[in-house]
Symmetry: C2
Amino acid sequence: MIAYTPCTTESLRARLANVPAVTERLGTDSSVWDVREVGDGNLNLVFIVQSLQGALVVKQALPYVRLVGDSWPLPLKRSVFEYNALIRHALRDPGRVPEIYHFDEVQALVVMRYLSPHVILRKSIVTGVQHPNLAADMGLFLARTLFRGSNLSLPAPQAKADLALFSDNVALADITENLVFSDPYFDAAMNRHTPGLDPWITKLRTDRDMKVAAQAMKHAFVSKSETLVHGDLHSGSIMVTAEDTQVIDPEFAIYGPFGFDIGMLLANFLLGYFAQSGHEATPGDRAAYRSWLLSVTRDTWGVFVAEFSRLWRTERTGILYQRALFEDQGDPLASEQALQDVLRGIWVDAMGFCGVEMHRRVLGLAHVEDLESITDDSRRLIAERRALALGRHVTINRAIITMEGLIALAERIEEEDLA
Amino acid sequence: MIAYTPCTTESLRARLANVPAVTERLGTDSSVWDVREVGDGNLNLVFIVQSLQGALVVKQALPYVRLVGDSWPLPLKRSVFEYNALIRHALRDPGRVPEIYHFDEVQALVVMRYLSPHVILRKSIVTGVQHPNLAADMGLFLARTLFRGSNLSLPAPQAKADLALFSDNVALADITENLVFSDPYFDAAMNRHTPGLDPWITKLRTDRDMKVAAQAMKHAFVSKSETLVHGDLHSGSIMVTAEDTQVIDPEFAIYGPFGFDIGMLLANFLLGYFAQSGHEATPGDRAAYRSWLLSVTRDTWGVFVAEFSRLWRTERTGILYQRALFEDQGDPLASEQALQDVLRGIWVDAMGFCGVEMHRRVLGLAHVEDLESITDDSRRLIAERRALALGRHVTINRAIITMEGLIALAERIEEEDLA
C-alpha cells in the first residue's frame, strides 16, 4: 500500500492506469490521456482525465484547506464521508448525483462521472441563465434524500449506524458550526466585508434577538440528528445544463435537521435574487430573472412538500409515526395531521437556517460569487444590505413567516429598498 | 480469555478471587465470602458479595431479557453503555452514582459499591416514606449530568465521539421507542391493563391529537441528540436512605433530549401521587405524603433550573451559545435570554415525555409497583384513570402548561375526580 500522496497530473496518470474502472472507460493506453488539474474550490484537488474514448473526474482531498494552506489542516477522511454520502444519495434519488467509478480511501480520492456540458449553477445565476427543471429537480432531491435518510424510512439500526458513521465528520461540522453560525455575529478574525457596510454590521452584531436566534439555530444544527444532510447545499454545489441538475460535493455530510439543506439552498437563491441589480447593464434588465429566482424559491419548497408528502404516505417504514398507530387504526387523518406537524417544523427550521446563511455569505469568510462579482462597491453594498435585512427577518420570524410572506418581503425590500 | 458465561454464585466467587479491586475490599480468602443472587429487575443478574471486611455488588448482563426469557434476546454490550454512563455520571455529579471497582467487558460484568442501607425509592413511595434531600439531589443530578454531557460544556469532538459511542445502544433504545412511545397507543401484543379500564383506553387510543403528540415526542426522543441521558430515570432507578440519594442502572443511556430524564422522573413522582389513595388505610391518611410528592415534583424542577442556570453562567465552554457572542460583547442579558429560551424548550419536551411515561406505565408492558401493589382493582382503576387523564393533558398542552398549572391540575384531578 502506498501512503497518501497528493497527486500531480503525471502521478495520477500512473495511478489510474491500473484501475479497471478507469481503463474500461478511457482505454488502457494511459499515455494518450489528457490530465488537467481544474480545482477552483476551497478544499481539494480536482482533475479531469480524458481520452478519445471517454472522460472522468478525480477529486482528491488535501490534508489542509487549499484556499488557506497548510496552516489550516483538514482531515483526509472527509473523502470517506463524501463517498458514503454520494452512494447514499445515488440510491435515494437515482440520477441526481455523479456516478462513482472508484474510491481509494488511502489516497482520499474519488473517481467519478465527468459532468459535461454542465456548469456550476452559481455561474448561471450570475449571468442570468434560467434552468426550467431546477426547482423540480431540487425539490425532489431534497425530499427523497432527507426522507429516505431519516427514521421515517430507514430501519433504526441502520439509521443509528449512519448517525455514528457521519458523527465522525467533526472537522467539517466544525467549519459549519463556526463559519455559518458564530463568526458572522462577532468580529472574528477571518471575517471580511464590503467597505461601507460597517453601520449595518454593527447594528446586526448588537441585535440581541438576532444573535440569540442564530445560536438557537446552531443548537438545532448540532443537536437535531434527523437525517443525512448534504451539509453544503448552495448553488456552488449544483451543476446544471439546460435540462439536467446534478448535486455534487457532499463532503460536509452529517446527520442534521431536515430543514438545513432546504434553508441553505433557499438562502442562496435569495442571495442570487438580491445580487441581480448589481449585474444589470440597464436598470430592470434582470427583472424577469429576479422573478424566476423567486419562482424557483417557491417551487423548490412546493415540490419538496409534495414529494415528502407522497413518500410519507407510501414509504413510511421507519420507527417514527408508524402506520400501526394511524392508518392501520382506520385514522389516516391522524397521519395527515402528523405530516403537517412535521412539515411545519421543517419549514420553521429551514427559515432559521436561511437567514443565517444569508448573513454569513455577506459577513463571514466564505462569500458568494453572486455578490463578489459585482464590481461596483456601492451597488454590492446595496444588495448586501438587503440580504442582511431579509436574513434577519426570516430567522427572527421563522415561526411566523409563510412562503408568500417571504416572497412578498423579498420583493418589497428589493423594490422599495426597505433594508 | 474465557468466553462469556452467566455467573453462578460459585463461579462468580472463583472469578472475583483474582481481581485485586475485589480482594482489597473483601480480603483474599474468597472461601469465606457470602455470595447471593438478588436480582429482581427485568434484565440482569445481580449479586451481593460480602465478607467481614466489606461488601460489593456485581451486575452481570444476560443475553436475553430475564423477565421474558431467551425468546427476547438482548445484547450483552449494554453493560458497556452502563459502564460508560456510570463513569461519566461520576465525573459530572460526583458522589451521586455507585463507585465502580471493576469492569469486565467480555463477561458483561460490573463490580460496584454495595449501597446500604439504601432502598429503592419506589418502595419508599409505596410505603409513604419521605426523603428530605430527594428533590435537591435529583435536581442537581439532572442539571449536572445533562449540562455537562452536552455541547454546552464538552469539546465538540468529545461530544460527537460520545454520540457515536452511545448510538450503538440500539437494542435498549428500541425498547424505549416501542414500549414507551408506540405500544401504549394501540393494541400491541405485550400490553396489559387493569380490568375495567377499557373504556378509558379506547378513548385514549382513538384520541387523534394524543397519538400525534406521542409520536412527536418519539420523534424528539429519536432525533434530538442533545446530551447523554440516563434513559430510564424512574423511581426504580434511584436508591435512597434518610439522607442519601444514588442513581443506578443507566444501561439505557443514549444521546437524547435534555427533557427526557426530567419528564420521565416527574411522571414517576406523579404516578406515585395518584397511587397514594390506593394505599390509604383510612381516607386521607396519605394526604401529607401526596403533598410531599408534589413538592418533590416542583422542587426537582426548581433545583434543576437553578443549577442549570448556574452552570450556564459559569461552565458554558462548549460550542453552543458561546460567551464570545454574548458576555464578551458586553451583553450578558443576551446570554440570559438564550438561557430562558433553552430552559423553555427543555420544559416543553419534559412535559411531553412526562405524559407519555404516565400512559405507558398504565397501558404498556412495564407497569409500576406504586399502582400494581394496590390490591383492590377498583381503587387501582381510579388511580390509573387519573394518571391517564393528567398524562393526556400535559403532553397535549406541553407548550402551554406551567409547573403551577401542573400541580394544580394534579390536585384537581385527585380531589374532584376529574378524570
